[in-house]
């Protein structure tokens, strides 16, 4: 397993107005691994995830301090090109949010706007992305139908394909399966495991089994702090901290 650090963060604080939502997070992510961020609602894990592609920038009255680096580059430096950053750090949301266009258009939208016009290239990207997102078999005959005509689970996989088509290095997933049925969830989980050869995956999840099954490392957030970060196998069998043990055994949260 590769152990190169792809994202590093040091002493990250985030304030909504006066309220401190993240209280000094130090967390590094390894390339080609799946890292699960777990913790009760309001623990700051989603807020932290959205720092990594600067989605929080849209929120008014927010203040961020600390140091977050991708490939050693400070992503909050003034010179950072946010658009470029988001091409390298893709994101999948809790609710499937396909554009109300055809499946084909959904997958190539990013590329098309980047100026790619060659139909052979676009066709190839559509096929490879949908295959990688494990939704090709279900969609190959209906590529020009609306993405909204698909089921929720299929929509979510098309959304993942849409991110893959841009070829990011890192994929952030914010509770990607919490709106889906168990069968769709397990398909996505399996797919993520297959994707880690090519991508680094960071996933917020409320589903402890999902974290235990599919991730390599687990980070446990509580009340804006990172309580414990270790290899998943160790975290779920022999956690170092009492809070971790309480949480995974269901004593709170």
């Amino acid at each position: 397993m590769a152990t190169e650090k792809i994202i590093t963060s040091k002493d990250v604080h985030l304030y909504y107005g006066e309220r401190e939502a993240l209280k000094g997070i130090d967390l590094d992510f390894m390339a080609h691994e799946i890292t699960a961020l777990i913790g009760p609602s309001g623990s700051g894990k989603s807020t932290y995830l959205r720092l990594l592609n600067r989605m929080n920038d849209l929120i008014p009255n927010i203040r961020i301090t600390g140091d977050i680096r991708l490939h050693g580059q400070d992503i909050y430096a003034p010179a950072t090109d946010i658009v470029q950053l988001r091409k390298e750090v893709g994101m999948v949301f809790q609710q499937p949010n396909p554009f109300p266009f055809s499946i084909y258009e959904n997958v190539i939208y990013g590329l098309r706007l980047a100026g790619e016009k060659n139909k052979a290239v676009l066709d190839e990207v559509v096929e490879s992305s949908l295959k990688a997102a494990a939704v090709w078999e279900e969609t190959k005959d209906v590529l020009h139908q609306s993405a909204l005509s698909l089921s929720g689970g299929q929509q979510q996989r098309v959304c993942i394909a849409r991110v893959l088509a841009v070829k990011p290095a890192v994929i952030l997933l914010d509770e990607p399966t919490s709106a889906l049925d168990p069968i769709s969830s397990s398909k996505i989980e399996q797919m993520l495991v297959n994707l880690k050869a090519d991508y680094t995956i960071i996933m917020v999840t409320h589903n402890m089994q999902q974290a235990a099954r599919s991730s390599d490392r687990t980070a446990f957030f509580l009340d804006g702090k990172l309580v414990e970060y270790s290899e998943t196998a160790k975290f779920f069998t022999a956690p170092d901290r009492k809070e971790s043990e309480d949480y995974i055994s269901g004593r709170f949260g």
């Binding site: 396909p98 055809s102 590529l143 020009h144 139908q145 959304c159």
Partner: protein
């Protein structure tokens, strides 16, 4: 009275109110069409009006109405798109934008005759455009802009914020997200609003009386050079529209068949406005289906 009876009674009352509204509309339409349609012939639609003798048509007024509409929409559509996009996508919530919104609301509730007098003072007198198509188009823009802007803003605001996040997270710039995802998604609503606005402009009279004027000089339909004085396209010629024409012949028409001309013109006007409304519905739905289902452009 038990709950079921209450429910029945309420349903009955609601149905009665609804049928009353339909009845008013239907009888109005029937009256205008029965009075007016016998007069509407190809000859009526294409010949110029006559001031003193019977047998005149509404050709020039009809052309004027459409030309004025096209010019007014050419000015107000881009402006309202810009303003609507700004208010919905870029404007921060502060005193300035709430001032803009309040201004738009006030502007949209001004009586059209007041807007017309304002246009008379500014465009006709101050800017020396005279009674002209140009003055008319500008005053129609003032009249129409607030409603169109409102429509664009609301159409955009109804698109889920998840779509904006999806666009940004894909590495699209804000401008790309707005113009390539949010605006296309809102296009059916925007288009419907624009067409309805066009219908409103088409039937407007009060704002035009003092701006586009009440005379329809003879036009030379063989010369389309916009700088030629009798050219149909000349934007600086006075241009009585259909709605103004109806008002005028009813108040001071001295042709012997004034009543019939007025009825015929009203029928044509109401059919045009109806067509705008129906096409707005059809076009909006059609566009929505096109946007959301079948593969489009080059796919």
């Amino acid at each position: 009275m038990n709950v079921k009876q209450q429910d029945k009674l309420a349903t009955g009352v609601l149905y009665t109110i609804a049928s009353l509204i339909i009845l008013v509309l239907a009888s109005l339409l029937a009256f205008i069409l029965i009075q007016g349609l016998p007069r509407v012939t190809w000859h009526f639609l294409t010949t110029p009006a006559r001031s003193f003798e019977a047998g005149g048509g509404i050709g020039i007024q009809l052309f004027n109405s459409f030309y004025l509409l096209v010019l007014a929409m050419l000015i107000s559509v881009p402006l309202s798109l810009g303003a609507g996009i700004y208010l919905s996508e870029y404007a921060k919530k502060n005193w300035l934008t709430s001032l803009i919104r309040t201004s738009i609301e006030i502007l949209s509730s001004l009586p059209s005759v007041v807007v017309g007098l304002f246009g008379f003072l500014i465009f006709v007198i101050q800017f020396k455009f005279g009674f002209s198509i140009l003055s008319g188009a500008l005053v129609l823009t003032v009249f129409n802009l607030p409603l169109l802007t409102r429509n664009v803003e609301e159409s955009l605001a109804s698109i889920s914020s998840m779509q904006r996040e999806a666009g940004l997270a894909l590495g699209l710039s804000r401008w790309e997200t707005v113009t390539r995802i949010i605006v296309p998604e809102a296009l059916p609503g925007i288009t419907t609003g624009m067409i309805l606005g066009a219908g409103r402009v088409f039937g407007e009279a009060a704002a035009l009386i003092y701006t586009a004027g009440q005379s329809a000089p003879a036009l030379d339909f063989t010369n389309w050079n916009p700088f030629y004085i009798a050219s149909p396209l000349n934007p600086l010629r006075p241009a009585e529209t259909l709605a103004v024409h109806i008002w005028k012949i009813n108040s001071e028409g001295i042709m012997p068949d004034a009543v019939a001309v007025s009825a015929g013109a009203s029928a044509v006007l109401i059919i045009a406005v109806l067509l705008f409304n129906l096409s707005a519905r059809w076009f909006g739905q059609h566009l929505y289906q096109k946007m959301t289902s079948s593969g489009k452009k080059g796919a």
